[in-house]
């Protein structure tokens, strides 16, 4: 009933405001029920609260992973496990939680959906870390480490667990579930047909719900197309001035289920925002949301009938737009943080050589490295095996960052202890970061290229102009 009211209000508001129904067309909401013989009381077929529940679990888990005090902490470990693999009561939403005037509607996970993250974590082996762990095993390993790390960071071995856990889950749960499951296998003729409810008695068809769940994993607000990437970015940062932009139905609270921005959409917006107005401008956020919307409208038009081959082909076209752009968003993040790590290394080297205080630089460096590593592993959880690109990426980044005392984690023993050895020189490891950036451009054709270390050189080369006319002196 609530949804009904919301959809109606939204439609009315937008009609009044824009003087036409056009704006409403741009919102991912209010799609009618097309399941034949539906007998329930729902009035719309859109539902992706399980995915939003996982977005909130992810944000909360990240926050909690930074709470360690440096000693063994069973209580914290239990709490982390509760947010990763637990279920049921007692799970307060730690993030995003109300901040000043930015009021969030829900306060517990249960108000969204009683779900967990572990059951949906990528089950393949993660070759970018030692010991052939599955995605779930790797997160569990990091959770144990996080529980004993001060502020979630182990500066001796070079790991920032909140960052590693968070960025990896953005791939191993959200990206993987969406692009490898809902937008791939579930689009086949046999799986989740459109002339059947998703499950008995559901208000949505198999295909409708698959599509909606993928949308939920992307983490964009339903009205994202009415917002600029910069506005979406500000909403994710919960800036007070962005509250009105987020509160689409003007009920005075931000509904996490439909109005909030989460991880993947935030990074898409970040790349678009950083490149806006430049020659290399990207449009990841709107391309992805538009494709979701177009695909969803196709399903509405199918009106609860089995999809024809032509319709499925068209739908797969939209899915491809989403998958390709999403992959690029992750590659852009890898690129950006490789640039950050490079810059940190420049500072760290200077500090080490001058005998200065390493701690100031080390925290940022380890944090950025965690983001880089997390995203690089996330990138490898898509539907395609990245093959050589993955091997090169993993070797260039390594199992751990190069540390100030020239060591680097090279393995993890069967008890989970890190084994270190002398690593490459600062210069070589910086070169690795350059190569990571180049690899992202060559393999994924990314354009925003935030923190491009080679950018100055390209600009300068262009300024000098080419020597391509045959001149003499």
């Amino acid at each position: 009933m609530r949804k009904h009211v919301f959809a109606g209000t939204a439609a009315l508001t937008m009609t009044l405001l824009a003087g036409s129904a056009l704006a409403d067309d741009k919102v991912y909401a209010g799609f009618p029920i097309t399941v034949k013989g539906y007998a329930g009381d729902k009035t719309t077929s859109v539902a992706y609260s399980g995915q939003i529940g996982r977005q909130a679990l992810h944000d909360s888990l990240k926050k909690l992973a930074g709470k360690g005090n440096g000693a063994a902490n069973e209580e914290l470990l239990a709490a982390l496990n509760l947010y990763y693999s637990g279920k049921g009561e007692g799970r307060e939403i730690l993030a995003p939680a109300s901040k000043g005037a930015f009021v969030i509607k829900q306060t517990t996970i249960g108000e969204i959906s009683d779900t967990n993250l572990s059951g949906k974590t990528y089950g393949g082996t993660i070759t970018g870390m030692p010991n052939n762990r599955t995605g779930e095993e790797l997160v569990n390993f990091w959770i144990e480490k996080a529980a004993t790390a001060e502020g979630g960071a182990d500066l001796v071995n070079g790991y920032d667990y909140p960052q590693l856990i968070s960025k990896f889950i953005m791939g191993a749960v959200f990206y993987n579930q969406a692009v490898d499951g809902y937008l791939d296998e579930n689009l086949s003729a046999e799986k989740k047909p459109n002339d059947q409810p998703y499950s008995d008695g559901a208000a949505y068809t198999g295909k409708e719900h698959s599509w909606d769940e993928a949308f939920g994993y992307f983490g964009a607000p339903a009205h994202a197309l009415n917002l600029t990437p910069a506005q979406v970015y500000d909403i994710a940062k919960m800036k007070e001035e962005a509250f009105a932009l987020a509160d689409y139905n003007k009920d005075g609270v931000v509904d996490l289920k439909t109005e909030m921005v989460f991880g993947p959409a935030y990074y898409a917006a970040g790349a678009d925002k950083s490149s806006a107005g430049k020659e290399n401008a990207t449009n990841y956020l709107h391309s992805i949301v538009q494709a979701f919307l177009d695909g969803r409208k196709l399903l509405v038009a199918a009106n609860g009938e089995k999809l024809t081959d032509a319709q499925r082909t068209e739908l797969r076209g939209y899915a491809a737009v989403i998958s390709d752009n999403w992959e690029k968003v992750l590659a852009e993040a890898v690129f950006k943080y490789a640039g950050s790590v490079y810059k940190d290394l420049t500072k760290l080297k200077a500090v080490v050589e001058s005998g200065g205080n390493e701690a100031e630089v080390l925290g940022d460096y380890v944090k950025h490295w965690g983001e880089l590593k997390g995203f690089s592993l996330a990138l490898q959880t898509g539907k395609d095996n990245l093959g050589e690109t993955a091997v090169r990426l993993n070797r260039l980044i390594g199992f751990g960052p190069l540390l100030p005392n020239a060591s680097q984690v090279v393995d993890i023993d069967s008890d989970g202890n890190y084994l270190r050895d002398q690593g490459p020189s600062f210069g070589e490891y910086m070169l690795h970061m350059l190569k990571v950036q180049k690899l992202m451009i060559d393999s994924f054709g990314i354009k925003a290229q935030d923190n491009n270390v080679m950018g100055d050189m390209a600009d300068l080369s262009n300024a000098l102009g080419g020597g391509s006319s045959a001149e003499n002196d």
Binding site: Q422, F426, G427, L431, D456, L464, A470
Partner: protein
């Protein structure tokens, strides 16, 4: 839809409106005005007659000038086609930028307090100088090397000069100039971005390098004209005047190979090719060989190739080395070249070790470098006929073995350092081996209690000290290294390296954790510099006078001593060796070793190979190939090793080193080694 024609017209027109190009309309106008002024100053004729003189038909519509225009038009099309295939500035700059990271072991920030404008001026000037110097150099080569002169002659065959003569160039020369431009720009870009980052910018006027703009705006186009515009003699030693370049085009023998410079005359001055212009000297332009110049396109484009080929044939008949012979004559026949390449590839494939034969095979995963392993493989294959395949990697073999699981083709694992060896055992990647030969030949303290790994050679962690050190008697043990005597005199690689970690583990075993940490702290306090580099680098530091004592593995000394590089031998010459703790527990040793892969399909053969490695023949090889000590008590150390002095080894159970490694790592982190 852009076509070639529209692209062409756009780029062609672009040359006149682009201030980075010589024939930018602004420069042409400036040249006309200066030309007018110069002529007026010399002749005081009426403006009308001067304009008529500047643009006279006998110059602008001569056969020579018409050929200039045609070459200009055609070359533009050719270069448009070639441009995307040329080596770009960015490609070369990127490569160099990356290499600089290795040369400087990172990226130092230079002159951080400098104002942005100063860096910009420095870059702009450097770029202008590099560009101008490289123009001089290439131009000089074009005149001095007959093969290149065959192409450059096209430019010098001009008998009348107009600003468009700058485009009277053979495309081969155009390519050389493009390459020169890319290289000189790349060096400047890479070096400046590397040291100054985004502070390196180009100071421009209308988008062109400010110096280049000045050069062009001051009548550079008059260099290809009949206006005798010269500078005062002193200035012509700094800047090339238009008249000096006209002298370069003179057909008089006394002017040949003079004034190669583009903007600056200093290069000619340095190179001894400067010719300052003389007043009222009459000059005729052309080749001066008495022959009629053929200004037809066919001759201009094709005859240089014939002449170049002729030069090459002349070289060859004078007996060039076989390699150049091959390159030049064979290059004339693409077919034959293709055939030769195919044959070479086929031969390589036939000889390739990847071609499996029917005989017994053994697959080895090795952390040891190929040149250290190969002598053993050759000896084993000669003895048994078994064919051996090696996968070599310095890192990641354990992960690879784990990932391959039961499907792994690996039979034998070879590695160095006990900690690395025990990783394989820890991850259950090694099979237990029952072998009387191994049990008898490898002392108990040098093998796994569970018989999963065995040592095959020993390496001692010793001191290299400056030759003739007066207080050498104060350096009898590892413990001594922490004493105040050695303050500021010790060099070492980083503590986390497995060799140092093993040494600290042996200290924990001998003296306890607390004492080991105090000792490690003492060593760190005595360091002459931040721990860096490998063991060789420490001996080099002794040679350079940075420190008096270094901790190294013994075989590095042997390698330096017998190196082919005289420099390395000098380093070794500066040092002598001390075997610590000879009066006590003995010198700490680490091992190279190996075991049988858990999923090996040829376990018997794998064990036979391990047994071979402890045989007398192989044990001797360890000493000969890499200055390592044999583990087999029945085999004596090599003569060279014996000449370094007898040594007593610490015979603690080597497996204990691996067990103590985590504690040792904590000490390293705490003391900041």
């Amino acid at each position: 839809m852009p076509t070639f024609a529209t692209d062409y017209l756009e780029q062609f027109a672009g040359l006149f409106i682009d201030p980075t190009k010589r024939i930018f309309v602004g420069y042409l106008v400036a040249a006309a005005l200066i030309g007018f002024a110069v002529l007026w100053w010399r002749t005081r004729r009426s403006p009308r007659s001067l304009i008529g003189h500047l643009f006279r038909r006998s110059v602008w519509l001569s056969g020579s000038s018409k050929a200039d225009f045609r070459l200009f038009a055609i070359n533009q099309g050719i270069m448009m086609g070639l441009a995307p295939r040329l080596l770009s500035t960015l490609t070369v700059a990127t490569l160099l930028f990356e290499t600089l990271h290795v040369w400087f072991a990172g990226r130092p920030a230079v002159w951080t307090g400098a104002p942005v404008w100063a860096v910009a001026i420095l870059f702009t000037l450097s770029q202008f100088l590099a560009d101008d110097a490289s123009k001089y150099l290439l131009h000089r080569w074009l005149h001095r090397w007959p093969v290149l002169w065959a192409f450059h002659k096209v430019h010098h065959s001009a008998e009348t000069l107009t600003p468009f003569t700058v485009f009277r160039t053979h495309p081969v020369e155009g390519l050389l100039f493009a390459l020169r431009s890319a290289l000189s720009q790349a060096v400047c870009v890479a070096v400046f971005v590397f040291f100054f980052g985004d502070r390196a910018t180009l100071t421009t006027v209308l988008g062109a390098n400010v110096f280049l703009f000045a050069f062009n705006a001051m009548g550079a186009n008059l260099r290809h004209s009949h206006v005798p515009f010269s500078y005062p003699a002193w200035l012509e030693r700094v800047l090339i005047s238009p008249r000096q370049h006209q002298i370069h085009h003179s057909d008089a023998v006394r002017h040949f190979d003079r004034n190669f410079g583009a903007a600056l005359a200093v290069w000619d001055w340095i190179g001894g090719t400067l010719h300052v212009s003389a007043a009222r000297e009459r000059i005729r332009f052309g080749l001066g060989d008495g022959a009629m110049v053929d200004h037809r396109l066919r001759a201009l484009y094709l005859s240089p190739f014939a002449e170049a080929a002729h030069c090459l044939r002349a070289y060859m008949s004078k007996g060039w080395i076989a390699m150049q012979n091959l390159v030049t004559t064979r290059a004339l026949s693409a077919f034959r070249l293709g055939l030769a390449l195919t044959a070479a590839v086929a031969a390589l494939l036939l000889l390739s070790p990847a071609r499996a034969a029917a005989e017994q095979e053994l697959n080895i995963y090795s952390h040891r470098q190929p040149f250290l392993i190969e002598p053993f493989i050759e000896a084993y294959t000669a003895q048994t006929g078994t064919k051996i395949n090696i996968v070599y990697a310095s890192k990641g073999l354990a992960q690879r073995l784990q990932a391959e699981g039961e499907l792994s083709p690996a039979d034998v694992i070879l590695t160095v350092d006990i900690a690395r060896l025990s990783v394989y055992a820890d991850k259950d990647l090694l099979a237990p081996v029952e072998s009387d030969i191994l049990a008898k030949s490898v002392p108990e303290h040098l093998r796994d209690p569970g018989n999963r790994w065995f040592a095959f050679s020993k390496r001692a962690r010793i001191f290299a000290v400056r030759k003739g050190l007066e207080d050498l008697d104060k350096l009898k043990s590892y413990e001594d290294l922490a004493s105040e005597t050695w303050q500021g005199r010790v060099c070492s690689r980083p503590g986390s390296h497995v060799y140092n970690r093993a040494l600290i583990a042996s200290m924990i075993h001998a003296d306890g954790e607390e004492a080991a940490q105090a000792w490690a702290q003492g060593v760190v306090d005595n360091l002459a510099r931040r721990p860096q580099g490998d063991d060789r680098a420490q001996v080099k530091a002794i040679f350079e006078g940075v420190c008096d004592v270094a901790i190294i593995n013994n075989y590095y000394f042997g390698k330096l001593k017998s190196s082919e590089s005289p420099e390395h031998r000098e380093w070794a010459e500066a040092a002598e060796l001390v075997f610590p703790n000879q009066d006590g527990r003995g010198t700490h040793v680490n091992i190279s070793g190996g075991g049988v892969a858990i999923h090996s399909k040829n376990k018997d053969e794998a064990v036979r190979f391990l047994e071979f490695l402890v045989s007398e023949e192989a044990q001797r090889l360890y000493g000969e190939v890499n200055y390592e000590y044999p583990v087999n008590p029945d085999v004596p150390a090599s003569e060279e090793l014996q000449s370094w002095g007898a040594f007593k080894e610490d015979d603690m159970p080597i497996s204990r080193i691996a067990e103590l490694a985590p504690q040792a790592q904590m000490i390293i982190d705490r003391v900041g080694w």
